[in-house]
């Protein structure tokens, strides 16, 4: 009998939700068969069988969320398939012939609710203290720095705590994590959303009903969470892009035929990355009662795709040249459009840029991409008369708005950050340094 565990499907994944079981108890399983679809913080992915056998038991029902490493199913020889604890969810047709009173989603057993709601960092249960898996080096480092291993999430094979994990703790806290603060969490749980004014009853006859895809549902959930739990505030500014546009032309004219063209967005991304170096609080996140400043600057770029919106990430953006950023951005956008983005492409973003400049948008305000602290929304660049020495001169002006998390960022900081972005874009040669 072998256990099927909730896999780690991305670097930041802490827990996963079983979206759908594709096999039921008693089914023959071959290596490589897709057992279930798992929904993570990033996307929906397949859970593959690494062992052949018979699906003996499903331990986690559809809709339930469990931490990585938890057993979700058992694969055995098929000698004795126990009756499933509860009947496998009946697949009622979506267009519901008959009068199915409950729509598709299966009821969640109460246990699932509690585990999904308890957002405490996934700690190892205290009963298992003796059995914490950690490398000897990690143990030794933990001892040296007085770190409680039961509070460290392992990322090594089988959830083993390894050097990197301890280094992460040291980096994040600077000091060993003390006993958990007794103070209440700064954010109250979200109030229940008032029911929309006109609850949709039976759809009017002349509408088309499109079921949301998993990804769209994921986007919907995350953006709702963002807007409901993050106190957004906004600061706008206008940038004179005349010189930046000229620089871009020069860059692209001097580049070879086959090299990637630098876009305005690439310059904006670079400017943001450099400004974030100066304003690390904008490149941060809030976790419980801690402000965590990231050491890396990884700028995400919002890309619209047929299935919705994705934000692939350019890693260490600040240390990359404009041409490298252009090349990587182009590759990421192409991958996004082909639905070929890997989880690693979507991970680790510390700040985002969303640009509707090419779509004639006069103002644009974006929703923060959690757990980031801010997002910069770019509207179109327009030719406008600007007084220069009392004379009207035509310049290219671009409107931008930063949405920021007011729990950790305040107006003056954000305004100064925007000033820096503006300064860099108006002196675009500083972007090439």
């Amino acid at each position: 009998m072998s256990e099927v565990n909730m896999p780690r499907l991305s670097d930041t994944m802490q827990e996963g939700t079983v979206a759908r079981w594709l096999k039921k108890p008693g089914d023959e399983i071959k290596k490589g068969d897709i057992l279930a679809e798992i929904e993570t913080d990033k996307a929906t992915m397949d859970l593959e069988a690494y062992e052949a056998g018979t699906l003996q038991q499903i331990m986690v029902q559809e809709g339930e969320t469990v931490p990585i490493g938890q057993v979700v199913a058992l694969i055995g020889t098929g000698a004795a398939v126990p009756q499933p604890a509860q009947p496998a969810p009946a697949k009622t047709g979506a267009d519901g012939a008959g009068t199915a009173p409950v729509p598709a989603p299966v009821e969640r057993p109460p246990a699932a609710e509690t585990s999904a709601q308890s957002k405490e960092p996934a700690t190892i249960e205290s009963g298992e203290r003796g059995a914490i898996k950690a490398s000897p080096l990690a143990r030794r480092m933990a001892e040296e720095h007085d770190i409680d291993l039961s509070r460290v999430q392992g990322t090594g094979p089988g959830g083993r705590i390894v050097r990197d994990d301890i280094e992460d703790v040291l980096e994040q806290h600077g000091a060993p994590p003390a006993a958990p603060a007794a103070a209440p969490k700064p954010t109250a749980p979200p109030e229940p959303v008032p029911i929309p004014a006109a609850p949709p009853g039976a759809p009017p006859p002349e509408t088309e009903i499109v079921k949301l895809s998993r990804v769209q549902m994921l986007i919907a959930r995350r953006l709702t969470e963002s807007k409901q739990t993050i106190p957004h505030f906004y600061v706008s500014s206008e940038v004179d892009m005349t010189d930046a546009l000229a620089l871009r032309q020069t860059l692209n004219a001097s580049a070879g035929e086959d090299s990637v063209k630098v876009t305005v967005n690439d310059l904006i991304v670079k400017a943001c990355a450099l400004a974030l170096e100066k304003f690390p609080e904008v490149n941060s996140t809030i976790k419980d009662d801690q402000l965590i400043k990231y050491k890396h600057i990884n700028v995400g770029i919002a890309v619209d795709v047929p299935s919705g919106l994705v934000v692939p990430v350019i890693r260490d953006t600040n240390s990359k040249g404009v041409r490298t950023i252009a090349r990587e951005a182009k590759a990421l956008i192409a991958k996004a459009r082909d639905n070929k983005l890997a989880p690693v492409d979507l991970e680790g973003g510390t700040f985002s840029v969303s640009n509707l400049g090419m779509m004639d948008a006069s103002t644009f305000i974006a929703v923060i991409n959690p757990p980031q602290a801010a997002i910069l929304a770019i509207a179109s660049t327009r030719k406008q008369f600007v007084p220069v020495d009392g004379q009207p001169v035509i310049r290219d002006l671009m409107a931008m708005t930063l949405s920021a998390d007011h729990r950790i960022l305040y107006g003056a900081t954000v305004a100064r950050f925007l000033q820096e972005v503006k300064r860099l874009l108006q002196n675009p040669y500083t972007l090439l340094g």
């Binding site: 499907l9 290596k31 000897p136 080096l137 990690a138 030794r140 480092m141 590759a331 082909d338 070929k340």
Partner: protein, 479 residues
């Protein structure tokens, strides 16, 4: 076969490619592998394997020198027949490559003989190589995922005279009609010194000409210093800081002219062996390059999942980097195959063992002493000499040492072995480093006596200041 569709196609059947193919097949993929010359690639045919066979012969020859003190007298001096030695290595190669063929069959992998030309649209066209029977028509198939593993070829820099007679390289040095009297080895990197030791052991007079100030640049300084002394004891001449300018004929011999800080120098020998570097082999990838395959002068750029910038196309091995290590290519092949089959695998280059097959052998993993001291403030370094190990002394291998570099947390930052069986022994340190075992776990592990492996534990004990079989140099660390 036209229009056949595979899950995974691998281009190149070297140690990266054939391992990738097997791993993909294990994961349930239908797999095709294309090879233009011979299964097993450079490693099995003209690299690791024939050189180990020939080095074995050289080692046997060398051991004859010290037979007298073991009480063995040869009634007449040994003679050496190059053609029989070549036949022996050929046989070894044949056994190993036919083994790869069997593995392909056993894993139901379709093997295509010929040059595979790849398109970004994932079609592969196989044109028959010179070696195969040709009916003229190219075969074509397509694959969901493609793993490029075309390897590398010896780099022949454009020195004047490089294309002259008796100028050989690591591909062409295996079938010489007779043992060269003398040989100039251009390049003192790993391949150069291995071949230099091999020919020297067989009886050739060898001179190494290296452009850099040292041979074996990546090797720990202390190890290199001892190695250089060993080479001169064997009678190998080394010229460093010597940049080759030209190769010419001088009567029946070859003359290599090099510029040095002391002015021009020349070296003469029967053969010139060029072992300066290897360059990525991109034949068959021309179309992909036109279609935007990201590369740096032929070396294909990949991420840690071995993905290129083109969707569904992976690249591994020497095509990707200059490591020139078969075991790295193989591991990359496994990573690429797993990702191609939808698993999540990442390549981790932190712990890569480097074996060097010379007399004496060298092997190392992790940082050199200089690198460790640059990176960390708290570093402890100690050595254990083979002269203090019973098994080594008993087999007459007293030269060399094991050197261990420990960090603040007793972790092993680097390990360097020069001496008997170094290339096998390094694995214990690799396992420890990869799994984050510290000096304490190595010390706590019982090592069998009498073995060379005892030395591995002793070196760690020495770094801890408490060796058993050598007098302590530094006060024992308070535990």
């Amino acid at each position: 076969m036209a229009g056949t569709q595979y899950d995974v196609a691998v281009i190149g059947a070297g140690p990266g490619g054939y391992v990738a193919a097997i791993r993909a097949a294990q994961l349930g993929a239908t797999v095709a592998i294309v090879e233009k010359q011979y299964l097993g690639g450079t490693c099995l045919n003209v690299g690791c394997i024939p050189s180990k066979a020939m080095l074995h012969i050289a080692e046997v020859m060398q051991s004859m020198a010290s037979m007298g003190e073991l009480g063995i007298e040869l009634s007449q001096p040994p003679t050496f027949d190059m053609s029989k030695a070549v036949a022996f290595t050929d046989n070894v190669v044949k056994r190993m490559t036919s083994g790869v063929g069997t593995l392909m069959k056993g894993n139901r992998i379709d093997v295509f003989d010929g040059l595979g030309t790849v398109e970004a649209s994932h079609t592969v066209t196989v044109t028959k190589g010179e070696l195969a029977q040709s009916d003229g028509s190219p075969q074509q198939f397509s694959a969901d995922k493609i793993i490029l593993a075309t390897g590398s070829v010896p780099l022949m820099p454009p020195f004047p005279g490089i294309d002259g007679r008796n100028v050989i390289n690591s591909d062409t040095c295996w079938h010489l009609p007779k043992l060269p009297e003398s040989l100039i080895c251009v390049g003192g990197g790993v391949i150069g010194v291995e071949l230099a030791c091999m020919f020297n052991g067989l009886g050739t007079q060898v001179t190494i000409v290296e452009m850099l100030p040292t041979i074996l640049a990546p090797v720990d300084d202390e190890v290199r210093n001892l190695f250089v002394r060993s080479l001169s004891k064997l009678g190998i001449t080394i010229a460093t800081n010597a940049k080759v300018e030209s190769i010419a004929d001088e009567g029946d011999l070859k003359k290599v002219t090099a510029s040095t800080p002391q002015g021009e120098k020349s070296f003469t020998g029967e053969y010139v062996l060029v072992a300066v570097s290897r360059s990525a082999n991109t034949s068959g990838l021309e179309r992909l390059m036109e279609q935007g395959l990201d590369n740096d002068r032929g070396r294909v750029r990949v991420n840690e999942k071995m993905e290129t910038n083109l969707p569904g196309i992976y690249a591994i091995g020497d095509l990707v980097h200059g490591a020139g290590l078969a075991h790295v290519a193989s591991t990359e092949g496994e990573v690429a195959a797993e990702n191609a089959k939808g698993h999540e695998a990442k390549m981790d280059y932190d712990v890569v063992p480097n074996p060097i097959y010379t007399f004496p052998e060298i092997a190392f993993v992790g940082l050199t002493e200089a690198q460790a001291k640059e990176k960390y403030a708290d570093v402890r370094v100690e050595r254990f000499p083979w002269a203090a190990n019973g098994k080594a002394v008993g087999s007459g291998h007293t030269e060399g040492f094991i050197k261990v570099i420990l960090g603040k947390y007793n972790e092993i930052l680097g390990a360097h072995i020069i001496g008997p069986d170094a290339t096998n022994l390094i694995t214990e340190y690799s396992v420890a480093m990869h799994n984050e075992l510290t000096a304490d776990e190595i010390i706590a592990t019982i090592h069998p006596h009498p073995t060379l492996s005892e030395g591995l534990r002793e070196a760690v004990l020495a770094a801890e200041g408490r060796p058993i079989h050598i007098p302590p140099k530094q006060p024992a660390r308070a535990r």
